[in-house]
């Protein structure tokens, strides 16, 4: 199939960017979207032009490195799919495909389609952990956890930290991402010890990073490649309110 690509090109963080049009021929419907970009980049290289920079790594939908806002959708048109698992059979011969980086003040563009998502790491550093040192922990089976709770915590833990929620949200809000971690640890007995400080600190860091607020549009959950649920956001709101009301942190 033959395609027309409109791709955001931006030299570096401080440069202005623009959409550049590239015609591309002979794409197989069995290719993944990133393999299609590989083909484009090989073409560009052969012509002596600079290839398009984009993030990718595992190419099996789990590392969360790939991003891309494709034809107005985070990770493209297929639900529950990361860009690396999106295949060209979902496009038609002659299609024009617009490819843009995630857009958020908290995710500055490094180059072309590569953005800086270190804000997510900093939010995790603010409290996304259980404070246990290596060694000296109880036997794994000393902490029985009801299967329904374990499953719920697991559903929250599947977040791959790709940032599609921020990209899809009209407010560039990171609530779905943050709430997934907060919920996972709030549900599990291991996380209950620090649940108050955790939610207080992670939300504070989220706000510092400059993400927007939640309008409950549900766009994040709809575009999440691993199906993180909006219930997590409600749970985080509950945790936050409860923590603020009852914690002894007056600062």
């Amino acid at each position: 199939m033959d395609l027309t690509l409109k791709i955001w090109r931006q030299k570096d963080r401080n440069a202005a960017g623009q959409l550049v049009t590239y015609p591309l021929k002979g794409i197989s419907p069995d290719m993944s979207f990133l393999e299609m970009l590989d083909v484009l980049n090989e073409d560009l290289l052969v012509r002596g032009e600079e290839p398009v920079a984009f993030d990718h790594d595992c190419r099996e939908g789990i590392c969360g490195m790939c991003s891309l806002f494709i034809n107005g959708r985070a990770h493209g048109p297929e639900r529950g799919t990361t860009t690396c698992q999106l295949h060209m059979r979902h496009f038609k011969d002659g299609d024009t495909i617009t490819i843009e980086p995630w857009r958020a003040a908290a995710f500055p563009v490094h180059k072309d389609l590569v953005v800086d998502r270190s804000a997510f790491d900093r939010i995790q550093q603010a409290g996304g952990y259980v404070s246990v040192n290596t060694g000296g922990v109880p036997d794994a089976n000393a902490i029985p956890i009801p299967k329904t709770i374990a499953d719920k915590a697991f559903d929250a833990a599947t977040c791959i930290q790709c940032g599609a929620c921020v990209a899809a949200c009209k407010n560039a809000s990171a609530m779905l991402f943050v709430s997934a971690k907060v919920s996972q640890l709030a549900l599990l007995p291991q996380g209950k010890v620090e649940r108050k400080t955790r939610v207080e600190n992670m939300v504070a860091q989220m706000d510092v990073e400059g993400f927007g607020a939640c309008s409950n549009t549900g766009a994040c959950a709809a575009e999440c490649p691993v199906g993180i649920s909006l219930d997590n956001i409600a749970m985080m709101n509950r945790e936050y309110l409860g923590a603020k009301a009852s914690s002894e942190n007056v600062a």
């Binding site: 107005g72 009209k170 504070a204 400059g210 409600a234 509950r238 603020k244 600062a251």
Partner: protein, 226 residues
């Protein structure tokens, strides 16, 4: 800032204020609608005028009026602050986007809907509330007591077609605002549960439609039947 102001100036804190004030305003809508239903009494406006007099003079209502004004002000102020924050969170917009694939129109346009409602509110207050509270209405005697004839103002206002149109359009906007806002408030407050949330969603939808329909019928009734 102390912990209290910090809490309520965080993004989640502001959403909590939006929710609490929003739900409070919903309760006001119910009271207001129930009162207004007296317009349909075939007594030439007597019961309505007595009711409006009571609302304007009762000390409890006067206190609640202040609370109501605060509710509006906080709701509007936080909406403004949040909207500004949300805009700055995405300084460069997408060249192409298809949000209709992942969210409802009303959920994405609460600010627009809210602005329409605010404009309506100003018109509405100017026309009814201000004269009722501060004078400017004709008098009427009911059971040998003098009352302001607010009923007459209602009848006269709703003879004007464009005025009726403003009301009807605004009520449609309010309905959409509430359809998203009602259930959204429960989400923001973390009040979700597998058992009850479906009911809250259905109830919120029905509430929004019925209340707004109730308000919209009044101008239409007077335009076509009075």
């Amino acid at each position: 800032m102390n912990w209290f102001t910090k809490t309520f100036s965080s993004t989640i804190g502001r959403k909590i204020i939006m929710s609490v004030t929003g739900l409070f305003l919903c309760s006001f809508l119910v009271v207001h609608l129930v009162g207004n239903l007296q317009l349909f009494n075939a007594d030439n406006g007597e019961s309505f005028n007595v009711y409006s007099h009571f609302m304007a003079t009762n000390p409890v209502i006067r206190v609640m009026e202040i609370v109501l004004v605060l509710g509006f002000l906080f709701h509007i102020y936080d909406a403004f602050v949040l909207t500004r924050r949300n805009k700055t969170a995405r300084p460069v917009d997408y060249a192409e986007q298809h949000p209709q694939e992942n969210s409802t129109w009303s959920s994405r346009n609460m600010g627009l809907l809210g602005t329409i409602i605010l404009v309506f509110l100003i018109i509405h207050l100017w026309n009814f509330f201000v004269p009722a509270r501060f004078g400017g209405l004709e008098g009427v005697v009911i059971d040998e007591v003098d009352y302001d004839n607010l009923y007459l103002r209602v009848v006269q206002s709703f003879q004007i077609w464009w005025y009726v149109a403003i009301y009807v359009i605004s009520m449609v906007a309010l309905a959409y605002h509430l359809i998203h806002g009602f259930q959204s408030a429960f989400q923001s407050l973390g009040l979700t549960h597998k058992k009850y949330t479906p009911f809250i969603k259905t109830f919120g939808y029905a509430f929004s439609v019925i209340v707004c329909l109730g308000f919209a019928i009044i101008p239409l009734y007077f335009f076509f039947f009075a």
